[in-house]
Symmetry: C2
Subunit: 286 residues, 2 copies
Amino acid sequence: MPARSHITMSVDSHSHTIKKIGPLSFVKSLWRILAGKPRVPPSLQDNPLLNIILKRRSVRSFADREIPDDVFSAILEAGRLAPSTVNLQTWAFAVFTADSWRETFGSAIPFKGQRAVIVMGDTHRDKLIAEAFPASPLVEYTLGVMNASLAAMNMNIAAEALGVSSVMLSETGRSGLLDASYLKERLGLPDAVIPLMTIVFGYARGPYPPMPPKLPLDQICFQRKYREADSAIMEDWLAQMIAGYKASHLSSSFEAQLRIYQSKIGKAEADLERMVLGRRVGGSGG
Amino acid sequence: MPARSHITMSVDSHSHTIKKIGPLSFVKSLWRILAGKPRVPPSLQDNPLLNIILKRRSVRSFADREIPDDVFSAILEAGRLAPSTVNLQTWAFAVFTADSWRETFGSAIPFKGQRAVIVMGDTHRDKLIAEAFPASPLVEYTLGVMNASLAAMNMNIAAEALGVSSVMLSETGRSGLLDASYLKERLGLPDAVIPLMTIVFGYARGPYPPMPPKLPLDQICFQRKYREADSAIMEDWLAQMIAGYKASHLSSSFEAQLRIYQSKIGKAEADLERMVLGRRVGGSGG
């Protein structure tokens, strides 16, 4: 078990993985990203809805164009009508305009989005009428996270269907799970309401960026028995991630992004432990 | 805090809630379910994908008609291309035909579906190349659940776009989170791979059932500060749930369904605690 005190990233220690990326390998990895299109069977290539779903991208650059109220309410409706365990609808949405976000957080919506929704797992509301999850904080939490995520994806696709782009954020600008305790205080959330992510909505400025490197289907699917991933394919994926970041974030890197993420994980873990399991962190935890 | 040893359901103790449902109230609740259509602004009613998203339903009755391989692979492709935290793709899909399900579990796919996908949060695969979540089991688990659920919803909508219906199951027929330890053993899953749900796919037999009662948008959304739900609206929702179950499941009830669910929660909690937090349950836990 890893030591709790020492937060490291083993991509650093696997220096052979990173050193391998010379100029030629870098270009090759970039080429593979650009070639990584959705694989749609020829018979289905004309299905417009499937195309919208498969061409969806996380967009981080938005035009200065407002989202009409009826469009935004249709997006929220997709969240409202998402499926959930025993139809318990264990979610809550904090909805923001550019102005109300600024009033609440003192800054613009990340990437200058026009609207934002903070998606929360909410098992607090059901407690008004039923003790649906007696003494089972992890099951309760899991179902809250799962259902809220279903609602988030439904909103995301509904937005795409309406020509609105979006990105789901879990750490940028104090916007998600890694800042759960900050958001809980700022939004006045009860115990069983846990912020998971912020979805930022807007009209894309310019064309969609290339798809980030996705693992091939045979690495993520199996039949009958779990099959270990192929480490060569995983290292190839890592090389593509690193090359893709270098090409699209001139002043950053995938490793730096992971490191920012990891710098917040320790506090987030302690916060979650307190919020989900209802007790202070102490002792060995081992 | 509820006592850990005594698993009850407070809908039982709130007997006024249940007694209120006399014949007239029952008919009224049913009527409200039938009237509960998606609320789409008139300007957007012609959008085909939005309609598919909002008219999606959990379908539990499938025709004896096979799903072609190209259609099923396009559904999996939607899972593969779902968004995820730092593009880590923390999911795995166990895919089944009717035959391979029967060989694995000794029974038909629930509701006689034609294909099934067990969706898992998988943070095991990334460990081949990076220690992405050092010593933070709850953060790691949450992101695994969140991302896998995004992929699940993307598959669900892609299926709808292709005319294929589905239902996400978390407890029927040993198919999800509440049977995680059973599924882990049966599928040979490593520690950091947690089964969350089974999505059953097939062509719907007959028209879609009415939408189960959904909470109004102003109960699940708020601005700036969390707003407590209205308990009258929650009790009205509960009355609709009870009436809807009574009308559609002649031999069952919502309370019975919740009770089945709750009967499995204690073991599921202990299993999750061991799987997620990596330790045996013991002591008071309080």
